[in-house]
Symmetry: C2
Subunit: 151 residues, 2 copies
């Protein structure tokens, strides 16, 4: 299917997820996705910011391309997901990248704080395996095919 978004360029997803099982499930779903994509997986909030701002292990910008979408867990080692979100949305360099929070938390307070920090979308991980796969399919399709953002 025609890619409405990026005219054949590879689509880059930054996955910020410390849970190995969830990350494996997400990566498997995206590897089978109708839209070709590269997943860059980091395990904590510090690595996410290093990736985005080309620091530490990610000082070579060519090795850490600007993602078209960021999938962000909230409970993360080193730097919390909300703080990562706040830092992404605080500067022009990164605030046009859609950030989708993908968390087990359906707590009203977590949602409120994420929206206050200008999250683009907030998703609760379904416990059911098939539902999780459905969500990955729909979310991938929506953000990779339909949503548009500045290059």
């Amino acid at each position: 299917m025609e890619n409405n978004n990026l005219k054949g360029q590879p689509i880059n997803i930054l996955l910020v997820e410390d849970n190995e099982d969830h990350a494996a499930l997400i990566k498997r779903n995206f590897s089978e996705h109708r839209v070709a994509n590269n997943i860059h997986h980091v395990f904590d909030g510090e690595a996410a910011l290093d990736y985005l701002f080309h620091k530490g292990d990610y000082s070579d910008p060519a090795a850490s391309p600007k993602p078209n979408v960021i999938l962000l867990d909230l409970r993360l080692p080193k730097i919390d997901g909300l703080e990562v979100l706040q830092k992404i949305k605080a500067v022009e360099e990164t605030n046009t990248i859609p950030v989708v929070v993908l968390t087990t938390s359906s707590a009203e307070l977590d949602m409120l704080e994420a929206y206050k920090e200008n999250v683009n979308s907030y998703l609760v991980k379904p416990v059911d395996f098939r539902k999780f796969s459905n969500l990955m399919e729909d979310l991938g399709f929506y953000w990779l095919m339909w949503n548009r953002c500045p290059v």
Copy 2:
């Protein structure tokens, strides 16, 4: 299908669209949607803000329930879409409502300004009728079924 979002409450969509043909197409698609919903349609930016802040024709809050998602055209009479977006995202009363820009403009500058004003998602209306319907289906499903926001 189970509604992941709202536990059986009616889903309210605020559609801000001055193009009658586009509005009819959007409303028809949502009327056939798998997720039950009420569309509240306003034709200009001033009416959108009146609806959201219970002013003018919309002074009765019961008649203008808080929307679960706002579909916002950019080129609007009276008050421009970007200004509507800016006012929605400026105050706590409304900044947790997802705003999806739905426009004919794929201009980089429009995207940049919308993301700068913290749009949740930016979609370009497909010219092709079938693609437009597919987008409505996917967008409705994503924002009504999967995305979560504070009540």
